[in-house]
Symmetry: C2
């Protein structure tokens, strides 16, 4: 008999501080940026792009950490594993995660490079274009993950972004094995169509081997993964291989497919889309909160839509309201 897990969700992700600035399309064009995407950049490029950006705000980010912030706001118990450096941005990241009541014990890395940052340009249409300098985040060692922590969480949540750097990729593979042998569920978010381009065969192998219980994707990502140029075709191809698939479609809502059964939800109305940063992360938060709290799939999808709508109505990818109260009010 196993004891009840101490955490609802343990997430492993990049530990990143977002550096967000308003930008126009001309700046994106001048800097050769692909609107809506995430590009990895080196220190030199980070310096030159930062110099070209307008006045910015620093807000803690990182895809999986954003999802945990949403989960914590919805009353779930959470733990985070990610690598910061021993510097001011690392302190900012650690403070903001812990201030949400999330357990975060990964030791800061004492040497160079500095804490990861993501330079995010937000255009007037609310779209975000992300440029990530991975810094310390790419050196997350497998030793940061102890097996007891993984056994202590009902769901292990992983972001595809972490597949880019070598050390975290190895750490995630070990974590998946540990979770599966402890009988825990593994949730995985595909993160970005370009990430999938770089790691498609790895991701498909994980799925084919039954390592993933819950797969999160958006429209572009599911088509990239399946290499099928049609939403329905791609969903059909992947849904067969995972017990639970959740796919978001921006303004067109989201769907879930569980063992062949399909569920849908409309997008939650928003007065004005200010900044789409974190929309997918918070959708995953709402959905997983529903699942860990025993809600049905429709309600879980609705919770995802509500959390996503909150995050796109303001700057930054961390909730600024009481998500629990908001969700209770919206669900009625």
């Amino acid at each position: 008999m196993t004891t009840a897990p101490r955490f609802d969700v343990l997430a492993i992700g990049n530990a990143i501080v977002d550096v967000m600035a308003a930008a126009d399309d001309a700046l994106l064009a001048r800097e050769g940026l692909h609107k809506g995407g995430m590009a990895l950049i080196d220190a030199e490029r980070a310096t030159s792009l930062y110099a070209a950006m307008g006045p910015a705000q620093e807000i803690s980010g990182g895809s999986a950490a954003n999802t945990l912030a949403g989960l914590a706001g919805l009353g779930c118990t959470c733990a985070f594993v990610g690598q910061v450096a021993d510097d001011q941005l690392g302190e900012v990241f650690a403070h903001d995660v812990r201030a949400m009541g999330i357990s975060f014990t990964t030791a800061a890395r004492p040497s160079e490079p500095p804490t990861a940052r993501c330079l995010i340009l937000v255009t007037p249409d609310g779209q975000r274009t992300m440029n990530t300098f991975l810094g310390a985040s790419q050196f997350l060692p497998a030793s940061a993950l102890d097996a007891s922590l993984i056994r202590d969480a009902a769901i292990l949540y992983l972001e595809g972004y972490l597949w880019d750097p070598e050390e975290p990729r190895a750490a995630m593979r070990a974590a998946i094995d540990a979770a599966r042998s402890a009988g825990r569920k593994v949730a995985f978010t595909l993160s970005d169509a370009f990430v999938i381009d770089r790691h498609r065969s790895d991701f498909l192998d994980l799925i084919d081997q039954g390592q993933i219980d819950i797969l999160f994707a958006n429209d572009a990502e599911i088509q990239s993964l399946a290499q099928i140029d049609s939403f329905e075709g791609a969903v059909a191809a992947i849904a067969d291989k995972v017990p639970l698939l959740v796919v978001t479609r921006s303004a067109d809502g989201a769907i879930a497919v569980r063992n062949g059964e399909r569920f849908e939800v409309a997008a939650e109305p928003v007065d004005k889309v200010v900044d789409t940063t974190g929309a997918g992360d918070l959708f995953a938060a709402g959905f997983l909160a529903g699942q860990t709290q025993g809600k049905d799939i429709e309600t879980s999808l609705r919770m995802g839509a509500i959390a996503a709508a909150e995050i796109i109505s303001h700057f930054g990818a961390r909730p600024t309201v009481d998500l629990k109260a908001l969700t209770a009010q919206k669900l009625g």
Copy 2:
């Protein structure tokens, strides 16, 4: 014959990054904080208070630097002098000032302490309670101010906050002398009623000696300076001693008194007061922009009210819209 100054305004101020978090009144009570005030804190207190705060956003601040950000947004040419450390928050501050087109050439300080930060708790009523760790900012040396820079600016703008630490106080005194002997105008903002408590006789001496051409204050500050428990009484007492006095009164608008003649403006309507951080700083920006652009006193007051209304409608003390366009539209 002197040449036309290169800058409309040169400001000397604390170089501070604001660390802003939502807070409730209970947290203020637990931490013994005086709502609406500014307290100086040491490194130990900064650490303990930060730990008690919720998730935060980092946005460049500093009273005089906020005013310059407003002035730059209104089309004025500006320069800033202030001390950051050679660290990540120092880079953030320098980036954000320069990204507004403001000249900032003060060299970062290579040793401890770190760049100044202000822990700001914003309550649901929109009030901000500020706790400043002065860090590197308090070591601004007089040598950072060269006389040619001061000669190069039509207005020298100083914040009362800088009177607390010893080195910047000496630097400001030298700057005032340099500005006066170059025939430039000196503008001074009283900053905070508690700052005035600490330096009343210095401030009154400056005023009595005719060193200040334009004095900015709010309701509480003018009463503290005059030690008169009545708005009208305090204004009457001080207005006699400065060529141009500008006093803001939050929701009750603002007044100016120039050589005995009094002008008034109502507060600009705001849908919802989100965060009053920077209201006084941006009022000063709008007013000074009007003055440097040859506007009359009424119009300058109106420009102050418009800039202040923009800043209190969102988190953070730096403008998030095109202030020039907003002002042109509002002035009609």
